[in-house]
């Protein structure tokens, strides 16, 4: 398998400006599609410094083999799995919302809000996130496809796919390239320059959690890029329009239409509290899971020298030592959209999520054999670890 191209850099020939060009030029250089099979980056991360070029290449081949093994097995049972999750999710969603329509009864409020919270979490994590990654595109089902799926989340899918799939997954934890390190709001890595603004780190994070979907929507607009002139005005207008429309629909559903119908039974106010609570529960949960992906103790960040000349094996290494898993029950894995297998997800972002669990022990074994860290821990420990970092990095670095 060689994907090497000696084609000249496209961004130099391409006309300047235009929305799609500005995105393309960001994605073109250097081309990870042309990642070398052998060689080495300028600098290898500390955790992998003991590995030779040949060892890294061999590790890459072993991980390729794990992927091929899953691809060979992927089939009808996987298709049945995702359809079952969709069915359960839609059942919960419609039953929960219907129950909220009579939520002046306390039991109905609790049951309706709980079902809707579960539905929203399932929808965003196991369905939305994974389908929008293209994990289920192989089925060729237009109902379950990365190009047609829309989620119960305020950020428009296209914007999110760009910042998440294109940028975050390619430049995982490379400081200066992966803006997911702190989402332009928090200081999450010691190498990020400290400013007095960062004193509010814990406060910002606490405020962010219950309104996480709005934070992501704002983040996906790539405002810093726009200010620096890297994002065109046309692209900005287009993204703002898409967000406005999506936000209006989401807002109408949860905060106008549902309470309005519930008013027929005198449950309008309670229904509004129900949808507000469900969205907040989902936001807090998603925030916790996502922060556990790359911020707990044991995860590494990288410098731009480390991706200069990066080989395919080094790319894999970076994904593994830059991510952290969450250990727990099957139910926990489902509710996290299998992002509890963050390491496996980052190695194989387009493998169906239901396969990560069986891949995990093999990946862990490889890490052990090559002397690489494989960070994992129970949810509370990992959440604690990310919050510790949030607090610690609020303060300026100690002068040596």
């Amino acid at each position: 398998m060689t994907i090497v191209s000696d084609k000249p850099d496209v961004s130099e020939e391409a006309p300047k400006g235009g929305p799609s060009q500005s995105k393309a030029s960001a994605a073109v250089k250097p081309r990870p599609g042309a990642l070398a099979e052998s060689g080495s980056p300028l600098v290898r991360p500390d955790a992998a410094a003991h590995l030779s070029d040949e060892q890294v290449a061999e590790l890459g081949r072993e991980l390729d083999a794990i992927k091929d093994e899953v691809l060979a097995k992927r089939g009808a049972s996987d298709a049945a799995y995702i359809r079952r999750v969709i069915k359960v999710q839609r059942g919960l969603e419609i039953t929960g919302r219907a129950t909220l329509l009579v939520s002046k009864h306390k039991a109905a409020w609790v049951a309706g809000t709980a079902m809707l919270s579960f539905a929203k979490i399932l929808e965003n994590m196991e369905l939305g996130h994974n389908i929008l990654h293209g994990q289920w595109d192989w089925m060729r089902d237009p109902d379950i496809h990365s190009t047609t799926w829309d989620w119960d989340f305020v950020t428009p899918t296209r914007s999110w796919q760009h910042t998440h799939n294109d940028l975050h997954h390619r430049w995982t934890n490379v400081v200066g390239k992966d803006n997911d390190i702190g989402y332009n709001l928090l200081r999450m890595d010691p190498s990020q320059e400290w400013k007095p603004f960062n004193l509010g780190n814990p406060l910002y994070n606490a405020i962010l959690a219950p309104v996480f979907e709005w934070g992501i929507a704002l983040y996906d607009l790539e405002l810093p890029d726009y200010k620096e002139g890297k994002k065109s005005k046309e692209a900005m207008t287009r993204d703002l329009k898409a967000l406005g429309l999506k936000a209006l629909k989401q807002f109408t559903k949860d905060y106008a239409a549902t309470p309005a119908v519930a008013m027929l039974t005198g449950s309008g106010k309670q229904a509004l509290y129900g949808t507000l609570t469900a969205n907040a529960v989902r936001n807090v949960w998603a925030h916790a899971i996502i922060f556990c992906g790359h911020f707990p103790d044991g995860t590494d960040t990288f410098t731009e020298e480390m991706v200069e000349g990066e080989t395919r094996g080094d790319w894999y290494v970076r994904q593994m030592i830059g991510s952290a898993n969450i250990s727990g029950s099957k139910f926990m894995h489902l509710m996290s959209g299998n992002l509890s297998h963050q390491i496996e997800h980052h190695l194989f972002p387009d493998l169906p999520s239901n396969r990560y669990a069986e891949v995990a022990p093999k990946v862990q074994e490889i890490c052990q054999r090559y002397g690489l860290p494989y960070t994992t821990g129970p949810l509370l420990k990992q959440v604690g670890s990310t919050w510790a970092k949030v607090f610690k990095l609020a303060l300026p670095p100690k002068k040596a």
Binding site: K7, Q21, D68, D78, H133, D137, W138, R140, D143, H169
Partner: protein, 360 residues
């Protein structure tokens, strides 16, 4: 109808980003906001390797004309495959396809379909249909080529006493002949319908190199509007014969009044061998580029100055998907050559394997 649509729009305020149909599909699998579906109601075996599958289509299906075909989507091991099948049911009735096991998809349909299964559908199309004005007809069919013609016969013969239909059907043996009993019954019951079976296993191929066989089986064939459906060779031979007769007729006018309408199951573009590339056509951009078999289509398009959607360029983000219109591509990662019209392909990791048409 209009009220229903208003109701659906109101309901979608509560279901967004889903459509109300997405929720209704929990109760009835025919509902879908995106994809026309049908539920299998009955499966009737025809011969050892063919069966008729009756289905009830969801909203959005248009009633078919006798002789038309529809694209049918089937799932094999979780992956959707599309094939075209002629509708064998008469016009005005619930649709049915008659399928002969000839490959993975048709095999799964014949052997694996049961009532209650969901089929994915595209509305019926095709202009292999009955003439507008009554005319004496000659039907020439071979093997499973009988299916669209069966729809015509079922539509016309029992309901139009003034019709005049001759069917010449060739199959390998009597046991391989689809609809044999029903054809015999129709011929018994309706004097305006005549059927001749030709068994190639005993009689060899029906010979179209001269008019001799036809003259014997249907002496007035020149006066009939002819319809032919069957394998490529069969149709080519028939076409040659009719052309030859037409050429003669220009010398002696009025000898041939008949015309020949044929139904060809479109032949697929052959995939490239190994690493051979091919001509890549960007249909909407109206541009053609020669590509080798090792360059991702994304690069090919960009080199040609086309604004290709792109993302990670390593096959993981699926930002670069473009629908394939025709031809085959090679997955640069696995070397697998694949491609069906309408399939979305990852241009960043797919190269041309023979001529390729893209919807961009």
């Amino acid at each position: 109808m209009i009220r229903l649509r208003k109701l659906a729009r109101a309901a979608s305020l509560l279901t967004t980003p889903l459509a109300p149909e997405d929720i209704l599909s929990l109760f009835n699998p025919v509902f879908s906001a995106r994809q026309l579906r049908g539920v299998v109601t009955r499966v009737v075996p025809e011969t050892a390797d063919s069966a008729t599958i009756f289905f009830r289509p969801g909203r959005g299906w248009q009633a078919h004309l006798a002789g038309q075909w529809a694209r049918i989507g089937v799932e094999l091991d979780g992956v959707r495959h599309w094939r075209s099948y002629s509708l064998s049911a008469p016009a005005g009735q619930d649709p049915a396809i008659t399928v002969t096991d000839m490959g993975a998809v048709s095999g799964a349909l014949v052997r694996g379909t049961k009532p209650g299964d969901v089929l994915f559908l595209a509305p019926p199309q095709g202009d292999f249909v009955l003439p507008e004005h009554p005319r004496p007809l000659l039907m020439l069919t071979a093997g499973s080529g009988i299916t669209p013609v069966m729809s015509m016969i079922r539509t016309l013969v029992p309901h139009r006493p003034d019709s005049d239909v001759v069917l010449i059907h060739t199959a390998r043996t009597a046991a391989d002949t689809i609809f044999r009993e029903e054809l015999a019954e129709l011929a018994d019951q309706f004097p305006n319908f005549r059927v001749t079976h030709w068994f190639t296993g005993e009689q060899g191929r029906l010979d179209f190199t001269s008019a001799a066989d036809l003259d014997r089986l249907c002496p007035d064939w020149r006066q009939r509007a002819a319809y032919a459906c069957g394998p490529e060779g069969f149709l080519d031979d028939a076409e040659t014969l009719w052309e030859a007769e037409a050429a003669e007729a220009t010398e002696a006018p009025s000898a041939v009044e008949g015309s020949l309408t044929i139904e060809r199951f479109s032949t697929k573009l052959a995939g490239g061998e190994g690493h051979d590339g091919g001509l890549v056509t960007f249909e909407a951009s109206d541009r053609e580029v020669e590509a080798d078999g090792d360059t991702p289509l994304l690069d090919v398009g960009e080199d040609a100055g086309i604004l290709m959607p792109s993302g990670c360029r390593m096959g993981i983000c699926h930002s670069c998907l473009i629908p394939l219109r025709a031809g085959h591509v090679r997955d640069l990662r696995t070397d697998e050559v694949h491609g069906e019209p309408g399939q979305l392909i990852q241009t960043c990791v797919s190269a041309a394997a023979g001529p390729v048409n893209l919807d961009l």
